[in-house]
Amino acid sequence: MAIRVGIVGAGKMGLSHYAIANALPGAAVVAVCDTSRYILSVLRKHVAVDTYTNYEEMISEGRLDCIIIATPTATHFQCTKYALEKNLHVFVEKPLTLSPVESRALSELAIQRTRVNQVGFHNRFIATFQEAQRLVRAGALGTVTNIRGDAFGQVVVKEQSSTWRSRKAEGGGCLHDYACHVVDLMNFLVGPPTRVAGARMQAIFSKDVADAVSAVFAYDDRMSGLLETNWSDETVRKMTTTITAYGTKGKLIVDRQELKLYLRSDCRFENYEEGWNSRYITDLQSPVRFYLRGEEYSAQLDAFFEAIRSGNMAHENSFASAYETDRVLNLITEANEANGGGGRA
């Protein structure tokens, strides 16, 4: 029987998840919850789903196997907790919550209830980043001593304050909405830092939130990390995320298109030669069963449904792993405040 899916939040991500979940074999969207009566009335008229303005009502009717939550981050905790208590598997958009304490509580609850718990850090499903992680773990770079993560894009390029993304209390801002992807990818490659040695969060056009975040990470004594993100960079067509890792045997530069690996002499690894090597996404990415906006969006939901079917709790992007990301975001905020607050939190 198909997995019955409920969607909470029918904005850009919610509708994208709706289409993918509905198109993947073995799953069907049967209910949608949103506060916009307009969106609901369109769906009711044209698509065979039940619509709700209250997620508790949607969940307690008991027709769902899982929910996908794509609402402003500040609402994630309550909604996820409620769904887990009603024994639903939960996929929630990134970041998990605005507080590491809440994220850890959700992770513990999900484990206790043996419910699949996944967060939408979709970059982990891009084959170039997966290959980068494999290479780092297999020791192709030797001992990794430095890692750098950066992301640039044009999300806020003029003054505005009109949606939740520009309001700190709801989880808007470059830190939780943008830098979180880079922090999560750095964690994916080398594990989370133990400390944030310094951070600055800078407002550029926003009134209430930061538009650029810079931070220095410490990983015990063995490694240092550098984070730089800026979502007010109008020279970049769309979000561009790059990770660079330096090791004793070489250097790796990876983005969603290409993985470049430099290996020092006598350090060849598998079919990677000494000097520069390139692998393109076209060489690495596995096909998906439905395509919308990028393989990673389908791959992550396919993995979520597969974990539900198999009962595998050791899946990618668990709440426990997202908790580590939220913990680092919190350390960045604290380091920024210790520096006198910077431009804006």
């Binding site: 709706y18 993918i20 916009s36 307009y38 044209h46 698509v47 065979a48 009109s162 919308l292």
Partner: protein, 280 residues
């Protein structure tokens, strides 16, 4: 396309004159059809063509709408409702009160017509025999099973613009089934078709079978699979596919256009070609 290549193209095509120059090269080589997104700058290209009708008499546009980035950014920033207000044609919607607009656009077909009209304004007076829906929208509707919108779009562009509908997709076999269900016959469909099966969702075999057995008019795009296949090998393979008659390719230099055209003509003889030139 890599960000660096995109940046170089942006510098090179900073002036619309540079875009027109490439179009002129393609046109003078006998390529008559130009597939373009409804990017804001296409309006300037259209103005140029309108001003010299004699020269561009045989020029054919295949508009592909919407230019997804502007809508996606706007939905994130302003939400769905305000995005609709921002992009639909002035007089019709902006004078309506919010509540009234809600009622009007609740009918998704009315909304679709408003958005099509708004995108088509800049092509007024030009030859647009096929109007395409971009893959991000086609595939969103496909996944949500809003198939009736495909049929309504097909009907609307026929009635209002005397054009045929085209659908760009990354899920060709699935889309053909959906179009069948709502009675869109012999559809014009544009999808990745390349030797390595890159972004051919459903698998290369399902695509080849669809080309052989389904009644449709396919256009191959991304034949080089983002540069993963050498041009001669890519074109030789794609041109020998049973059931395929059209190719769309991106090019920005005379040498590139000539090379691609010659490679295709090696297998096909002379054939109608399409070429895009705005950033997609």
């Amino acid at each position: 396309m890599s960000e660096e290549k995109a940046r170089q193209q942006l510098v090179r095509f900073k002036d619309t004159a540079a875009i027109i120059e490439v179009l002129d090269i393609a046109y003078d080589m006998g390529i008559r059809t130009f597939m373009c997104t409804t990017h804001d700058r296409i309006g300037e290209v259209c103005d140029h063509m309108r001003a010299d009708r004699a020269r561009y008499r045989n020029f054919i546009y295949y508009p592909c709408m919407p230019y997804a980035h502007k809508y996606a950014n706007s939905v994130s920033q302003f939400g769905v409702l305000e995005t609709i207000q921002r992009f639909s044609t002035g007089g019709v919607v902006n004078t309506l009160l919010r509540g009234a607009m809600g009622t009007l656009t609740r009918d998704i077909y009315v909304l679709m017509r408003l958005l099509v009209d708004s995108e088509m304004k800049r092509f007024e007076g030009l030859n647009t025999p096929v109007i395409f829906v971009q893959n991000v929208v086609t595939d969103l509707l496909l996944g949500m099973k809003l198939y009736s919108v495909f049929a309504e779009f097909d009907k609307y562009v026929r009635e209002r613009y005397g054009a045929e509908a085209g659908f760009i997709t990354m899920n060709l076999p699935m889309l053909l089934d959906a179009l069948d269900q709502v009675g869109v016959e012999n559809p014009i469909v544009c999808s990745n078709i390349n030797k390595i099966g890159f972004r051919m969702t459903g698998g290369i075999d399902a695509y080849l079978e669809a080309l052989r057995t389904r009644r449709c008019r396919p256009i191959a795009m991304s034949i080089l699979a983002s540069g993963a296949i050498p041009p001669n090998e890519a074109i030789e393979w794609v041109c020998r596919l049973e059931g395929l008659q059209s190719i769309v390719f991106g090019a920005s230099s005379a040498g590139n256009i000539r090379q691609t055209k010659e490679l295709i003509e090696c297998v096909w003889g002379t054939a109608p070609l399409t070429t895009p030139a705005t950033p997609s």
